[in-house]
Each structure stands twice: as C-alpha cells, then as structure tokens.
C-alpha cells in the first residue's frame, strides 16, 4: 500500500532502486540524469524515465532545482517513491510535476531493481 501521495499521477515503468539516500545537487547530472557520485550504489546508472525508488533526499537545498532541471531536460524519472519525504524532493517534484509517493516499509522492501510496476 502506498502510504501517501505527495504529487499525484499514474505511472508504469521500470524500478531503479537505491538503498542509499540521494544528494540531487551533488550526485545527479542535471542534463543526463546520470549518477556522478562514485561512492553511490547507482553510480553510472541513469534515472531518466524510471520509477526511482530510494530512501530519501539529502544535502543541498538546491537539489530541488536539479529535479526541476531534469524534467526540463527530459532526463527526469517518470515518478519517485521514497521511504520518507524530504522538502527538497517534495518541492522539486511538485514544481516539476513528477509523481511522488511515500511507500509503506513492506512495499518499499518488496520493490526490486528492474521490476515493472504501476503506481498512482
């Protein structure tokens, strides 16, 4: 069960899952959507058009602009799903109109990288 919908929308797509929080400003290329932090478990992967499942956003407040830029550059995830919502991800998704869901612990655990799923 999705616990909460922060930004509404219906999406179907492939899960890209990380078990590490994401610093959007510091570790996501706003043009391509590639993860640039070599220490991150999504390093080298692209998040464009995926359903990005991760615990929560961290770090710079400007990460909200990174999310908005990803959308403008057609490199944004189709949706995001988190364990808990932080202000950077919530506001970035709200402005960029990227559906954002908060998942229950069971649902979060059951989602696997590469799964085809529908949300919303």
């Amino acid at each position: 069960m999705t616990l909460k919908t922060i930004v509404r929308g219906k999406v179907t797509g492939k899960v890209v899952k990380s078990n590490q929080p994401i610093n959007f400003l510091g570790s996501v290329d706003k043009k391509t959507g590639a993860i640039t932090d070599q220490k991150h478990d999504l390093f080298g992967k692209k998040i464009a058009d995926s359903i990005l499942v991760f615990p929560n956003g961290i770090g710079s407040s400007v990460g909200a602009y990174t999310i908005y830029s990803l959308k403008s550059n057609n490199s944004a995830p189709a949706a995001m799903a988190c364990q808990k919502a932080d202000l950077t991800v919530a506001s970035g998704c709200a402005l960029a109109n990227i559906p954002l869901f908060i998942l229950s612990p069971d649902e979060y655990d059951s989602m696997k990288d590469g799964d085809e799923i529908s949300l919303g």
Binding site: N56, S61, Y65
Partner: protein, 384 residues
C-alpha cells in the same frame, strides 16, 4: 493540511500564477511533513542563485516567476557564480555571465536583499529567539536553529522561495518538535574546525532531524560553521544541541576510528594544486585571524578566499583585506566554493581546503580531488 479560504483561493490560481506556484509547493511540502497548517515566517533566505547549479531551466523559471512574484517578507539570497570584480580572470563564457545576470535581475525584481552570501547570520542581526523563519541554505538553517535558536526546517530552494512569496511555511518537523532523537558522544580530543566538519558529516549521516552532541564544552563560531555546513551536506538533520545529559534514546560514539572513516571518504589527494577557503564563506573574525597567521608569510600557490561583499568591505576598511592580499590571497565576494564554476578540471586536478562541504561538492560536482587539512596546517605547509 488545512488551508484558509484565502490560501485555498491562491492554490486554485485566483490570486495569480506566482501565488499558485508558491502554494502548490507549500502544499506538497506540508503534505510530505504532515503539517496541519501554515504559519507566518518573518525572514526567508533562498538558495538557487548560482547559474552553475540551477542551469537554464532554473534561469527561465525565475525569469517567468519574477514577472508576477513579489517577496512578502525580508528575503536574503545565497551566493551566485562569480564576483563581478574579478570575473574576467576566470574565462567564463558570455552565456554564463548573461544567464547569471538574468538570475540576479529576477531576484532583484522580486525584491530581494542582495546579500549573495551563505552566512547571512554574520551580516545581519538575527531575529528574536523562537522566531519562525525559512532558510534554504543548509549551513545557515542549521546555524539558525542551533546557535540562533530560531525555527526553520531544513528548507529546499523552492520551499524557501514559496515562503518568501507567501510569508508562510508549513508548521511541521523542527518548527513543531525539535527534540533530539539521537545523542553523539564526541570522543576525539583536541578538535579543530576540520574535526568538527568531520563530526558534522558523520552526524548528518546517522541522525534524523535533530541531534544532541555530548563531550563538547565550547564551540567557537568557525567550528560551529564547519559543523553546520558538513551536517547539511550529508543528511537531513537540521539542528544540533550541545548536551551532556541528553535523554535521546539512541546513542553513538564519534571516535578516532569513525573520524578516519569520514576523512578517508572525502580526502582523495596528498596535496592540492590550489587552495580554497570558503563553504561557508569567511566572516570578519576569520579574515582577521588569517591575516594575523599570515604575518610575514606568503602563499606558494593560488589561494582563493570567499567572503560576503559586506565583510570584504569591512575587512578592507580595517586593513585585513590588504594584509591577506599581500600574502597572496585573492578575495572573492558574492560567490563561494560550493559548485563554483571558477575552479574546474581545466584549472586544477586537486584542491586543498579545510571545508568538508567544499570537499564534497568539489569532488562530486566539479570532479576534482581534494586534500583536507585544518587551516593551521594549510598555513604551515603552503606558505613561506
């Protein structure tokens, strides 16, 4: 979240597009944090000023927004991409400068106080304790909560912008309950500003919203700044308290071993091709101290010092700026090291700094290697 009739109308676009966008953002952040209502805020500090961070999409968004938006409360802003006085030395292209000037213009149009600083708390008087504010710059938000005893969440660029436009913010998280849920025991002896930076990075990783730190008697301003900046980089934690008797349920130690782990994660070079001091920008006392440390000495490498315009002018008046320049430092205002377009792989392979926040972004966003050292060692090793 319950909205008043007026807020509801704004959300539905009845009071113009700018307010609709602002309330859409506040509704999402309010929902995300289980807020019941919006409360008035009395000062906003927005981030998202540097063209290097917000790009074309951000520039265009602000240009459009500024056609109809006006800031309702006093609003200060973060650093931008360069210092106009020295920009020609750095080979930025015309497009960068044009876009950066457009961003500046958009903020001015909305009524900003043109501070271009990440340390507004060193330039302006802080509001009374307990005042609700909305601060996006993470080091300043943590500083405001922890040292200034103000009330802000660790706002995002957009949530603080929305608060600047509406004068409101969701009543949730730290605004409502800021009691620490974790206590960290500081076990490293003789700490300096770098040690506190490493502690902050560790704290940001392990703590959630608010953290107690035990074993620290005194924390001077530069160590506080270092702690706030690194804590903001690694996590979501927005407040710390120094408390040896915290009743927080979870307790962890920060010892030499933990410190080394953080250091090894962020330190990737034996030495740097140039030195940057900033992230956060330096305050007047730090400039004075550094000028004293450098008496009769000069840097053997390029050393960039980032400070607010208001501080540079005071430092010039008091003679510190001249002393620092005589020792080979270049003073830069209105900008900072965090995602600076001024230090790139074209200029250097590695940078020496005492800033953990600077190290993180220089490494991950600028792609440079970083050599971390406390200021005393930088002066010892890099000057003669």
């Amino acid at each position: 979240m319950e909205l008043t009739e007026d807020e509801e109308e704004s959300l539905n676009g009845e009071h113009g597009e700018a307010l609709q966008i602002a309330y859409r953002i506040l509704s999402a952040t309010g929902e995300a944090t289980d807020a019941e209502k919006l409360v008035p805020i009395h000062w906003a500090h927005v981030s998202g000023v540097n063209y290097n961070t917000i790009g074309d999409a951000g520039e265009e968004f602000l240009a459009t927004l500024s056609k109809s938006a006006k800031f309702k409360v006093r609003t200060t802003v973060n650093p931008m991409g360069y210092d106009k006085d020295s920009v020609e030395k750095f080979g930025l292209d015309e497009n960068f400068i044009q876009k950066q000037e457009s961003i500046k213009k958009s903020y001015k149009k909305m009524g900003v106080t043109p501070s271009f600083s990440c340390i507004p708390y060193e330039i302006y008087d802080m509001p009374q304790e307990g005042t609700q504010v909305a601060i996006a710059e993470t080091n300043a938000a943590i500083y405001a909560n922890s040292i200034g005893k103000l009330k802000t969440n660790k706002e995002s660029a957009f949530s603080a912008l929305a608060s600047a436009i509406t004068g409101k913010s969701p009543y949730s998280d730290l605004r409502k309950d800021d009691s620490p849920t974790m206590s960290i025991a500081m076990k490293v002896s003789e700490p300096n500003e770098l040690t506190f930076g490493l502690l902050g990075y560790f704290a940001g990783k392990v703590a959630d919203k608010s953290v107690a730190i035990s074993g620290v008697k005194n924390l001077d301003k530069r160590c506080s700044k270092s702690l706030c900046a690194s804590m903001g980089t690694s996590g979501t934690c927005g407040k710390f308290v120094l408390d040896d008797n915290s009743d927080a349920s979870e307790k962890v130690d920060f010892d030499e071993k933990e410190m080394q782990k953080v250091y090894d994660e962020l330190n990737t070079a034996e030495s740097g091709d140039l030195i940057t001091l900033g992230s956060p920008q330096l305050g007047l006392e730090e400039m004075n101290d550094l000028a004293s440390m450098l008496k009769g000495r000069a840097f053997k490498k390029r050393c960039l010092i980032f400070c607010p315009r208001a501080i540079q002018e005071q430092a010039r008046h008091l003679g510190y700026a001249g002393q620092l320049e005589s020792a080979g430092c270049e003073l830069m205002s209105d900008c900072c090291t965090c995602l600076t377009p001024l230090v790139t792989k074209k200029d250097a392979d590695s940078v020496t700094t005492n800033s953990i926040k600077g190290a993180y972004y220089l490494k991950n966003s600028n792609g440079l290697d970083v050599n971390l050292k406390p200021l005393s060692e930088i002066v010892r090793d890099e000057t003669s």
